[in-house]
């Protein structure tokens, strides 16, 4: 029973995901106004040759802050896991 259900779930999910290669063309992005803007103006606005960097740190700099914070969160979380329990005993 469980196996059948699992198989059905996987088949349905695979079929659903197949919509991606069926409707999105690889190599020919349909619309790219935003990226054309980045390519065309990124060099002069952010004064950086690497467009990816100018997106990462200028146009979408806030995302990058969030990403750094994710790493920081992970470090704090790992530190919480491996903390020394010498101080007050936990309840």
């Amino acid at each position: 029973m469980r196996k059948i259900l699992t198989t059905i779930i996987f088949v349905v999910l695979a079929t659903g995901l197949c919509a991606i290669p069926a409707f999105l063309a690889f190599g020919e992005p349909a619309a790219s106004e935003m990226d054309q803007y980045f390519i065309g103006h990124g060099q002069s606005e952010a004064a950086a040759n690497n467009i990816v960097t100018s997106i990462v740190f200028d146009y979408r700099g806030f995302d990058t802050l969030g990403e750094s914070v994710v790493l920081f969160t992970a470090v704090v979380g790992v530190g919480l896991m491996f903390r020394s329990m010498k101080g007050g005993k936990e309840q």
Partner: protein
Amino acid sequence: MIPSFIVENSPALMVIVPLVAAFITPFIGRISSGIRSLWVGGAMAVTSAITLILAFDVYSAGTRLYVFGARAASAAIPPDSGGIPIRIIFEVDPMSALMLVITAVSGFAIVLYSLSSERSHTGLESYYTLYLLMITGILGMVSTGDIFNFFVFLEILSLASAGLIAYRIDGGVAVEAALKYFVLSTIGALAILVAIGIYYGEYNALNMAMIAARMQFSLLDQVALVLIIAALAMKCGAVPMHFWTPDAYSMAPSSITALLVVASQASLYGLFRTVFSLYNVTLNAVTVGWLIIILGVLSMVVGVTMAIPQKNVKRLMAYHAVSQTGYMLLGVGVGLAVLGNQSLLDAFGYMAMEGGIFHIINHAMYKGLLFLTAGAIFLRIGTYNLNRMGGLGHSMKWTMVFFVIGALAIAGIPPFNGFASKLMIYESVFVFNPLLAVIAMVVSILTLASFVKVFHSIFMGPKLPEFADVKEAPMPMLLGMGILALVVVLFGLFPGIVVESLITPAAHALVDQGAYISAVLGGA
């Protein structure tokens, strides 16, 4: 009175302040615990203040935009980018502002509470750091107008929550709960990322308003919709994807559980935002609405029935949280199901949505209060097991009062806030489909029954010998609970003013996709 600098930059400041505080907290904690408490409390107070200022501003003057990194809002949409916003935009409309209010109030009350409740534990620097990061995550999630930014904040929230759920590592059970939560939320977040990729591939935009303006509801959009709503429904704990909820809620420290409730509401916000602002009328409202209604009904029934036989008080409350989430899904789902039909929407759709949204804020308050009381009891007697409790009403009078307030509110007994929102849901859902309203009422009765049991087991009865020298919870904890209880009572006594000033604008902001889009894209 308030410097215009703060008002203007409040969307950025409300993220900056907790972040900077979080970065410094690990080192502040090395100096002394007193300074750390002051630092964290102060940072949270400032954050709450800024957030409330922003929310007030939004309610009084309309949707706020904040473009990161551009001198002018018009620079976010340069002329030759095809009208697509190229920068990250924070878009705080009344619905976001409502979530901001919830986060600010709960966050402040809970930090007051945890200053004394967690005093005897190790690793407190990390605890407070993660706490502040969690607040940041919620604030960012609810106020961003950029879908990838939403994902990033969702991940911050997930990681911070997972770390905090596993805070009490010595038994290992908390880590198990955190692991389950985190595996699920990672898979969910990746599903959301796939959906973001689909939107990007189709519309070449990441701004939610822009995607909404171009939405066509093709097959790919349907796949993306399903990926997002399933992931977010899982993250807010809808049955049958609720299994992580009782584990995580019961194993986290109580103060964190209270915040996890708010975090779940933030996921719920994301769900509503996706359905209403991103898709709105383009989607097949009846099907999706009914799907959400069914999820809601299942959540209500399964949650409450699973709660009744529980022995662990926090697990019981966690199942109730699932059940109450069902009310919100039900209310908003009814609103969604009649979305295309303006007359039905005016007749009861808005009312249902207002009920559901009002329930979000009410639930965050009273469920937070209940979890905090559970934590206070645990602090004094060291167990969550209902079978071993009893007679605490003699020694923990204030805690008992707060518990009663919370329990009556969750059961929908007037004059507490749960009643008002539940009444709105019953009334409107009854018009939509009487059976659903009857189910909702039965669930409410079962909730009351269940809390009567809890109340009896914890507080009633003679003073037990093993708890003879139990004292009242310390003052900061009572203060934290008191804030939430005050909000519960006030909202219960004056629901009209709350509904008019907070809830109705939120519901209309949610339904009115055109306003959401034009706020960003202008005109149109």
